[in-house]
Amino acid sequence: MALTLVGLSHHTAPVEVRERLAFPGGQAARALVALREAGVAEAVLLATCNRTELYLNPDSDAALARVEVFLAETAGPLPGSLGRYLYRRVGDEVALHLFRVVAGLDSMVVGEAEVQGQVRDAYQRSAATDPGMTGAVLNRLFQTALAVGGRVRSETSVGEGTASVASVAVDLARKIFGDLRGRRILLVGAGDTADRVVAALGREGVEGVMVANRTYDRALDLAGKLRGRALRLDETTRALADADIVLTSTSAPHPLITRAMLAEAHPGGLARPLLMVDIAIPRDVEPEVGGLPNVFLYNVDDLQRILDEHLDRRRAAAVPAEALVEREALAFASWQRSLEVVPAIRELRERGEVVRAREVEALLTRMGHLSEADRAAVEAFSRRLLNQLLHEPTTRLREAAEEGRADQMIETVRFLRGGEDDG
């Protein structure tokens, strides 16, 4: 059977359905074992927050049917059948789809880079299953896909710029401070976006999170989660003197951080840069603060404008990226077609080898006076001759198969071989 893909993604299924087939933690590895037990020999399971896809090299329609049953059982009861959310790709379409996925062209945020690592992990997980669940075709498919993803990101601008508020904040901090280890962050207020920004900065080595909140208990709670220090809101001015990065996200109706507060926190002017990211509406930081010489103040509109610019650039770059992906998918399809003549080539070589061995043996029997070295030389000569005779036909067969003439070539080989008796 041809290479097959069964899956669902943000294009076809709502989050309530996607989360049923998310396979978090070690569940993906267990799912592979379950699939093997169900009779699926070769499979790669790609499960991200936006998609769950199974790449298969099934040996029968029955194996494919078992995969769909497995997915339906895993998802459990749904409004309607799982089938309405699933899509299937077969043959050449599979490579094109995977290459688009790994390049980030099928992602919710075009060009996102995370999917490349997720595909690599999925492939390695299948290959590492004992025994491995990737054969020659799936190995080639995923290795090519990862190379295509790398090329798309290095040769086009599709991954250029950042695509979330958290990554913009990290980019800004990096361009101001370089190494972020040991930098201190002051978080005023709380919220999902603020949490994500703090987590992203934490991964870069930012330490010493200070959390100020109108409700001190909430500050204590957040500080505990972020392994930081809780402050009362009236301690903000003092904290401003220590902070390198300030992140605000309260729902206060008026600015909480004013130019006067910064002047009080830094009486001699700011001796070192201060990055302020204000994601609150209405704004938490007085706009005049951005006019201070060493302050880099970004509000929600600034961040949104930056994100829009980056996404526009990515969308424009998607055109050459799609072209590159299509070229690579065509090359993969050619390689796959060339596999169709492999049995014919093997047959041709085996027949040649039988004839060679028989003729060499007959010759050496007649020439019993030859030394061991001479006999070895005759043997080596016959092998070289056979290889040279078969090299050109083998190459031509592969080329013809890549051009889609595999059936015709296989027939020709059978005709040439005829019913001749090997013995």
Binding site: R153, S154, S157, G159, E160, G161, T162, V168, D171, L172, R174, K175, I176, F177, G178, D179, G269, L270, A271, R272, P273, P293, N294, F296, Y298, D302, R305, I306, E309, H310
Partner: protein
């Protein structure tokens, strides 16, 4: 001359690679550009050693040799900046400078000038070598200063385009500027002290009315002001320092050009 020319071509190739990296938003090609520049510096060094072996003097006297040596030391400064992460991107400013110097040197001819300065021997080699290396320190600091101001402007203007992505972080540029100025100042001071000691010992006077001397003293003062500027005045010290370093290098280079252009025919200047 051929090796000098190949070094120039490599500098040019490295610069074009930097430009490509800039256009690509700083994503790729940086390492190749840095290695190409380093290869150019290695070849340039080989050319300088060959010059010394053939003519039995270092390429320090005469317009062509001294400019070529300055280009070489600029390249060495760039290689030194490789030690700092993303620091090599000052190449976008330093390489055009090295290219200009080396191209001018090649046009002027990299051969002995025939001028036999009374100030020669190990004293002179040390004095000129330290002086040129000091100027290169200032060039690195100046380049870092220009880039700092550009990145500062991008951050204040809230642009996160290709220039923003290409330029190193402010902290990296500040560190390069600080190290470049301080190393440059120390080397210039040693160079001037040597020249002064020689003048006192062999001419029995504290100073001579020579263009080189005025340029040296002027450069030393300019760098001193640039260092002091960091700690004085209002506003962010890093930005003040970047502005001072950028201006310092511009003043030193302009001073050199003015003295060079106003030098009387037949009178050797560097």
């Amino acid at each position: 001359m051929v090796i000098h020319l190949i070094a120039l071509v490599l500098y040019l190739a490295a610069f074009l690679l930097w430009l490509r990296t800039l256009v690509a938003g700083g994503r790729s090609g940086g390492a190749l550009a840095a290695w190409t520049a380093a290869a150019g510096v290695a070849l340039h060094l080989a050319a300088a050693m060959r010059y010394a072996a053939v003519f039995r003097e270092l390429p320090l006297v005469g317009l062509g040799p001294s400019l070529s040596m300055l280009a070489l030391l600029t390249g060495v400064g760039l290689v030194g900046a490789l030690a700092v992460r993303e620091g090599e991107r000052v190449g976008i400013v330093l390489l055009p400078l090295a290219i200009l110097l080396q191209a001018t040197a090649l046009v002027a001819g990299i051969r002995p000038s025939g001028v036999a300065p009374d100030f020669r021997g190990p004293w002179f080699v040390l004095h000129a070598g330290l002086g040129l290396a000091g100027v290169v320190g200032i060039a690195v600091a100046g380049a870092a200063g220009w880039l700092y101001l550009a990145q500062f402007r991008e951050l204040k203007a809230k642009r996160m385009g290709r220039l923003f992505q290409f330029l190193p972080p402010l902290s990296t540029l500040d560190r390069l500027g600080r190290v470049g100025t301080r190393v440059g100042f120390v080397l210039l001071t040693l160079s001037l002290a040597l020249a002064w000691a020689w003048t006192v010992r062999f001419h029995g006077t504290f100073g001579q009315d020579r263009a080189e001397m005025w340029w040296g003293v002027f450069s030393w003062l300019v760098v001193l002001v640039a260092i002091v500027a960091r700690g004085l005045g209002e506003g962010p010290p890093e930005r003040r320092s970047a502005t001072a370093n950028a201006l310092a290098f511009l003043l030193i280079a302009t001073g050199y050009l003015l003295l060079r252009l106003s030098a009387r025919p037949g009178v050797g200047f560097l």
